[in-house]
Amino acid sequence: MKQYEKQAEIVRQEQLTPEIFRLTLKAPEIASTARPGQFVMVRTTPCYDPLLRRPLSIHQTIGDQQVQLMYKVVGKGTRLLAAMTSGQKLNLTGPLGHGFDLAGKQAICLVGGGMGIAPLYFLAREIMRTTSPPKCIVLLGARTATELGPLPRDFMDIGVTETHLATDDGSVGHHGFVAELLPQHLAPSHQWTVCTCGPHPMMKAVVGQCRQHGWQCQVSLETMMACGISACLGCAIPRADLSGPYLHVCKDGPVFKAEEVAWL
């Protein structure tokens, strides 16, 4: 499990929506080793406030040279990130954690909500590349249409034929929660593997659906993180049975089998 600490030059900073940005970085070591579902820890300032690195999923790798991140401005760290411009350097550590496990999966459904969609794009590209014929359905949810930005198109552009949307306000696609799309679009005939990332309540609903229909489910989780390399033990989450040692999201995850973890 190779990891790197690098000064990565910013190749491109794109503002996709008022709050969402896409950052392209030159980081060959990380680009050439990263797997879908893995993340990097980004230092947002050389000063001591904000102090800690920020975890961001790898949105995609471009060739074996570039790493792309997609983030939403929610606080001071991401605000500092958004103020950076091409040519400047950013300190990254990664690739970190364990990604999604595609081994031998035939029919895969990706369910993303909000920024949880970021890592699923990398995963979709990997599926398109490796499984043939690729059987991949993508379900995307957001509060409103604009929040999805260019993402639905992005998935189509890489050959995902079935992309369905859901928005809380019905501004595009299904008027309701994305989890509700699962039974509509997943043919019972297949042995589906559902990979999901997004807000906790959304993932909980997805996991519920999977249980009901006997689909396998992989979830990508978020916690506060100080180190990202299993040194601080700050990213603990309880196991499904709520007993035994805690799992650590940065090392045992961020992607887990749904049945491994507790859904409180």
């Binding site: 600490e5 102090l51 550590t93 506060m224 040194a231 603990a236």
Partner: protein, 306 residues
């Protein structure tokens, strides 16, 4: 040009340089192997070990603060047996001194840990954590009362053949009093500071940001307090002092050495910059060379008072 001499001596042990890593911030060493040449470090202090494995506190366990962070890990650790079987084999190969940080909630537990670890090959010294503010029982009491602190020190020293470093809590009125007590108890060195007890509240939910309610404050924010205490303790005891608290750069390390620390431990900085500890070793070497010193030992206690 000859290699600058960074060696320091603590409890009869010679360290190749004064840069150690702080317990709980460097895992069991291996986690940092991708970033640091471990054998370049003066030593590695591993995550605190208790007799039985500990689950630690429920999440959330950490929260960022201005220039620092609060943690309430609750001393999660694999326990003595698994540490010996799973972690020590790797640690024996890292090419630098291994210091095992121990904690218990009774004199007996401290004794047993001291005894058992003395029998293990590849351990240079023990660091006795009598100060972790995160666990409701044990920890705090020992570190804040001179008599108890001395008793724990005696207990470990009596049952261990390893040099004993006692790690002090900053959450006290007069840290020199505790330092003198553990010196009297037989400690070969003291290390300070552990975290300052703090708290943070999420205004939206009106709940504490840590499940444990309170946690330990660490990072650059606490450096001034740590430096003051190290300076005070260095004047109060004859045994070596290991400085800890917010050390992030070579300059920070030099401040602690000037204040009287014989060595330093890099903690939270490992999270911000996983290469921090090694960069400080390199920085100290440059400092010794640039200032034409015979060795880093010339810096120790070199503070010039007005």
């Amino acid at each position: 040009m000859t290699q600058p001499d960074l060696r320091v001596t603590i409890g009869g042990l010679v360290f190749k340089n004064p840069v150690l890593t702080a317990s709980g911030t460097f895992g069991y060493g291996k986690e940092f192997a991708p970033y640091v040449n471990l054998h370049h470090l003066g030593g590695v202090v591993v995550k605190g070990i208790s007799l039985a494995p500990r689950r630690g506190n429920p999440p959330p366990r950490i929260v960022e603060t201005a220039g620092g962070m609060l943690n309430a890990i609750g001393l999660e650790n694999v326990g003595l047996d698994r540490f010996i079987t799973e972690k020590m084999p790797y640690l024996r190969g890292i090419g630098t001194r291994v210091i095992v940080n121990i904690l218990g909630d009774s004199l007996e537990e401290y004794q047993t840990l001291g005894q058992r670890l003395s029998e293990i090959e590849g351990i240079s010294a023990l660091e006795v954590n009598i100060s972790c503010p995160n666990v409701k029982k044990g920890g705090v009491a020992f570190g804040t009362d001179p008599t108890m602190a001395e008793a724990v020190t005696r207990a470990v020293c009596a049952h261990s053949t390893l040099p004993v470093i006692v790690k002090l809590s900053p959450n006290v009125t007069d840290i020199t009093q505790i330092a003198r007590a553990v010196e009297a108890g037989g400690a070969q060195a003291v290390s300070l500071i552990n975290t300052l007890m703090g708290m943070a509240i999420d205004v939206k939910s009106r709940k504490p940001r840590l499940a444990n309610i309170v946690g330990g404050l660490s990072g650059p924010a606490i450096k001034p307090v740590a430096l003051r205490m190290v300076w005070q303790v260095a004047q109060a005891v004859k045994i070596p002092v290991i400085g800890i608290g917010g050390i992030t750069t070579t300059e920070d390390a030099l401040e602690f050495l000037l204040a009287g620390a014989t060595a330093i431990e890099v903690g939270t900085a490992n999270f911000i910059n996983p290469r921090a500890s090694q960069e400080i070793v390199e920085g100290l070497a440059r400092y010794v060379t640039d200032n034409r010193l015979n060795g880093i030992s010339e810096v120790i206690g070199g503070l010039i008072l007005p």
